[in-house]
Amino acid sequence: MFKTPFFTILSKEEQADATVFELQLNPDCEVYQGHFPEKAVAPGVCNIGMIRSCAEEMAGRKLFLNAISQCKFTALVTPGECPRLSLRAQLTPIEPGQSWKLRATLYHEDKTYLELKAEVMTA
């Protein structure tokens, strides 16, 4: 894992059909030394890892991301220009306490960065 965390959760709000997180990316995370040396771009896979961490926060346990049916990256996340992100996530049980469908959208105001349809299970 990163010595300097990739992100922090600023807030978590339970809504009727989803949970909304406000997130702050950390431009000092060492990942940006190599992604990329000339231009800091948040790696798509780190955004997926961040979504899993938020899903773990929702489920109250460690989760294994065993399947992604589709993950669309619709805009580049650059921590210098857009360090604040919102995440809307839904966990729907497949086998209660064992596995869930995970739907998530990473966005800021009216711009969408990532849409994820996945399955997670108890790690």
């Binding site: 190599g34 780190c46 399947a67």
Partner: protein, 143 residues
């Protein structure tokens, strides 16, 4: 396994990522339509947690395997490694997580290539057993 075409820092000629974000350590084969790569997982790899190489690391390894594949013709033409971005991941499945110290192998197969978007199919194995598979749409930024 045959001798690598590129190994370690030689890969920097093919991919734009640099430490700590380099997730491919060997390129064994690259043709117009397929490639064979590997990653020697070091204990200090930034995607290792509790000695396991986690799912984002597996996906990044596949993406960089595709980047090395895409960068190879640029290298042969004497050009710099192009920046590439994942546009979409489809049908990703992780079967188990490798451990630090393991060497994982990936086979990349081009499914289609349309208007600068390459769709690849990837299979990652450890000692011949499946670890992960997925399809990926990759955009290569040409100068």
């Amino acid at each position: 396994m045959s001798q690598a075409l590129f190994e370690g820092e030689q890969l920097y000629g093919l991919i734009p990522q640099r430490p700590p974000m380099v997730m491919v350590s060997h390129l064994f084969k690259a043709t117009e339509t397929e490639a064979e790569t590997a990653l020697q997982i070091k204990p200090d790899n930034c995607f290792c947690s509790d000695n396991l190489f986690t799912e984002p690391g597996l996906i990044e390894h596949i993406a960089q395997s595709a980047a090395a594949f895409a960068g190879y013709p640029h290298y042969l033409a004497g050009k710099k490694a192009p920046l590439g971005f994942i546009g979409e991941i489809r049908k990703f499945a992780a079967y188990r997580l490798p451990e630090a110290g393991n060497m994982i192998h990936t086979h990349i197969q081009v499914v289609s290539e349309i208007m600068g978007v390459t769709l690849i199919q990837a299979e990652t194995t450890l000692e011949g057993k499946p670890v992960a598979s997925c399809q990926m749409k990759i955009f290569i930024q040409n100068d």
